[in-house]
Amino acid sequence: MEITLNHYLAVAAVLFVIGLMGVIMRRNLLIIYMSLEMMLQAANLTFVAFSRFDNLVDGQVFVFFVITVAAAEVAVGLALIVALYRLRQTTSVDALTTLKF
């Protein structure tokens, strides 16, 4: 069986939905964070797939950007989570409702 573009896209979609479910349903901030990364990688996979099948490098260039930004984001985000944990002794989102009315 030949691997076509649609196969890549299907994998990417599955990855994205898994990530989304994780973001919506998990309660631990760290896990949510990891799920978020998974959604980013799903996007990256589609970029690379299109790039490969359309014989263009634009998508791969974008992927580098995304990886760079994601790295920076992880650095900031993890630091925030650590700081939050020190303050509250928890990383559960159920406890973080100060902004709620």
Binding site: L20, V23, I24, V93, D94, L96, K100, F101
Partner: protein, 653 residues
């Protein structure tokens, strides 16, 4: 007719300049202000003399404003009626100005006082020379304003400020009716002009607005009648759509009722005595209150359109005459007695107009202006001499101590009660003769009023000037200076001879006949109508008996008394009209105001203003429930939204 000249405009410009300069910078220099005011009054009097002599003519009118269907010019009407009135206004005005120099000598705010007098002279002259009702209305309000300023001259006194407000509010109410009358006239004839030509044109060849104006659809009753002349040429009064004419007469008369203090609006005049006495003399006795009567005479041909209206005018005048005279019997304040006698005399004049005798009304107006100004100024001199004592029971024995004031007051008194030979005798006789011609009831009420007048005036003279002094001030009065006594003497001369020597009656009679002829109410040829001999005879004899009866009775009752033997509570309390107005009108108004306040609190502010605020708060309260604060819920909703977006863009075609 004389070539038109602008000279006559100075009648208005001079007092206005004087008032304006006082207001702008002379109020710190009282002597300069007095000089400006008195100089302008003197020049105006000279000018009025020139106008009366015929050497100054009518100036060319100029356009003030112009709308489709209405043009209003500012002009001057200088016919016998206004000439006579101008002489009275400027003449009495000048004497009052001079008197005030002495009377107000010690008042720190006298510059303001003279400024007020100048505004008054400006407005009053304007009323006299106005060529149309809108122009007259402008000056009419000006008179109201100056009256307000001068009644409230001592505004730090609560009672004076209240009296000024009362006068102004009463006049405003009445002026509303006047305005309605003016608008009715405009609707009927398409013009508000009151020159003789205009009245003639309006009554004989009307071109109502109704014919070519949107008003035609709004007021259907006008159209059919307005196609014909309002009056027939034969001299009889056509029944021109009766109710409209009645409304017109009623409206115009309402203006008169306010200014001339006729019965329902009479309450302001006695209170107006809170002002300085020269003001009472000038405004509230001699001229301003006469403006209403003057206006009625000016529009007299229009009044004839509605016989019921004329009857109403006569009735109100007659009632006011006797009503005020009854109240005067039990008053103790010298100025208030004179104020009620003014009301009563104004009632006479209005009754005369209503009984088809405008000439008689103007005759009495002129003589009354002389003797009432004299009485008030003399009373002012008394008050001045007694250091502001106004209660006649605290006077007494003044006749020998201030003889000049006494003798002039006595002449004014004789003229007022109609003692034979003095001014009031002649003018009152004519009025009573006119009243007899109209209806005997008017005559007999008028005659009884003459009795009451003689009674209360004799009471005033006997109590204040004879007997013994009843207070410290009355024991050591001081006669006023020449600046105050000379105007008294001049006015006394006019009060004595004004009835027969000056020919005032013939003057106005001639004017009245020519006015009636030119407006088609009298045939243009033939004998002038004469008053019936019986009426003249009765008008002379009956009042004489009444007057002597009144004098005798008052002498018998009050000679040598130290307190009032009569106690008629209802008269002393002025028939409780102030209380009635206070409770019924003001009370009702309070209730209405509270109702409006309730609407303001609960409907306007409550439902609409605060309602809008509560609505947005409520919507906010509802919307905030959506905000759970849980990021994951947001993410969930967001993702559903995204999914829907994808679905609609890709699949839903």
């Amino acid at each position: 007719m004389l070539p038109s000249s602008g000279l006559a405009w100075w009648l208005l410009i001079l007092p206005l300049l004087s008032a304006a300069s006082t207001l702008v910078y002379l109020h710190r220099k009282p002597n300069m202000a007095i000089f400006a005011s008195v100089a302008s009054a003197s020049l105006c009097f000279l000018l009025a003399l020139g106008i009366a002599a015929g050497s100054v003519g009518e100036p060319t009118p100029f356009e003030w404003m112009s709308f489709p269907g209405l043009q209003i010019d500012v002009g001057m009407i200088l016919d016998p009626l206004s000439k006579g009135m101008l002489l009275v206004v400027t003449g009495v005005g000048l004497l009052v100005h001079i008197f005030s120099i002495g009377y107000m000598a010690h008042d720190p705010a006298k510059a303001r006082f003279f400024g007020g007098l100048s505004i008054f002279m400006f407005s009053m002259t304007g009323i006299v020379i106005a060529t149309n009702l809108i122009e007259m209305f402008f000056f009419w309000e000006g008179v109201g304003l100056s009256s307000y300023l001068l009644i409230g001259f001592w505004y730090d006194r609560e009672s004076a400020a209240q009296a000024a407000n009362k006068a102004f509010v009463c006049n405003r109410l009445a002026d509303f009716g006047f305005m309605a009358g003016i608008l009715t006239l405009w609707m009927m004839t398409g013009s508000v002009s009151i020159t003789q030509d205009a009245l003639q044109g309006a009554l004989l060849h009307p071109s109502p607005v109704a014919e070519n104006h949107a008003l035609a659809t709004a007021t259907p009753p006008v159209t059919p009648a307005s196609r014909q002349p309002l009056l027939t040429n034969g001299g009889g009064v056509q029944q021109f759509s009766g109710w409209l004419a009645f409304v017109l007469v009623l409206g115009l008369f309402a203006g008169c009722m306010g200014k001339s203090a006729m019965f329902p609006f009479h309450v302001w005049l006695p209170d107006a005595m809170e002002g300085p006495t020269p003001v009472s003399a000038l405004i509230h006795a001699a001229t301003m209150v006469a403006a209403g009567v003057y206006m009625l005479c000016r529009v007299y041909p229009l009044l004839l359109l509605s016989p019921p209206g004329m009857l109403f005018i006569a009735g109100i005048g007659c009632f006011t005459a006797i009503f005020a005279a009854l109240i005067a019997v039990q008053q103790n304040d010298i100025k208030r007695i004179l104020a009620y006698s003014t009301l009563s005399q104004l009632g006479y004049m209005v009754m005369a107009v209503g009984c088809r005798g405008p000439a008689a009304a103007m005759f009495h107006l002129s003589t009354h202006a002389f003797f009432k100004a004299l009485l008030f100024l003399a009373a002012g001199s008394v008050i001045h001499a007694l250091h502001d004592e106004q209660d006649i029971w605290k006077m007494g024995g003044l006749a020998r101590k201030i003889p000049l004031t006494f003798w002039t007051f006595l002449i004014g008194y004789l003229a007022l009660i109609g003692f034979p030979g003095f001014a009031g005798f002649f003018s009152k006789d004519v009025i009573l003769a006119v009243a007899f011609q109209a209806h005997p009831i008017f005559f007999w009420v008028g005659a009884f009023t003459a009795f009451l007048t003689a009674f209360y005036m004799t009471r005033l003279v006997v109590v204040a000037f004879f007997g013994r002094a009843r207070s410290n001030a009355a024991e050591h009065p001081h006669e006023s200076g020449a600046v105050m006594t000379v105007p008294l003497i001049i006015l006394a001369v006019f009060s004595a001879v004004g009835g027969f020597a000056l020919g005032i009656e013939g003057f106005y009679h001639g004017w009245s006949i020519s006015q009636l002829r030119s407006t088609g109410q009298l045939p243009s040829t033939g004998a002038t109508p004469q008053l019936p001999a019986l009426g003249l005879l009765l008008g002379t004899v009956v009042p004489l008996i009444m007057v002597f009866g009144g004098i005798f009775l008052a002498f018998a009752l009050y000679r040598g008394r130290d307190s009032d033997p009569l106690h008629i509570k209802v008269l002393a309390n002025k028939f409780y009209f102030d209380e009635l107005y206070d409770r019924q009108l003001v009370g009702g108004q309070q209730l209405f105001a509270r109702f409006l306040g309730w609407i303001d609190d609960w409907v306007l502010e409550g439902a609409i203003l605060r309602g809008a605020a509560y609505l947005s708060v409520g919507v906010g309260e509802l919307c905030k429930l959506i905000q759970t604060g849980s990021l994951q819920t947001y993410a969930f909703v967001l993702s559903i939204g995204g999914a829907l977006l994808v679905y609609f863009t890709l699949f839903a075609h």
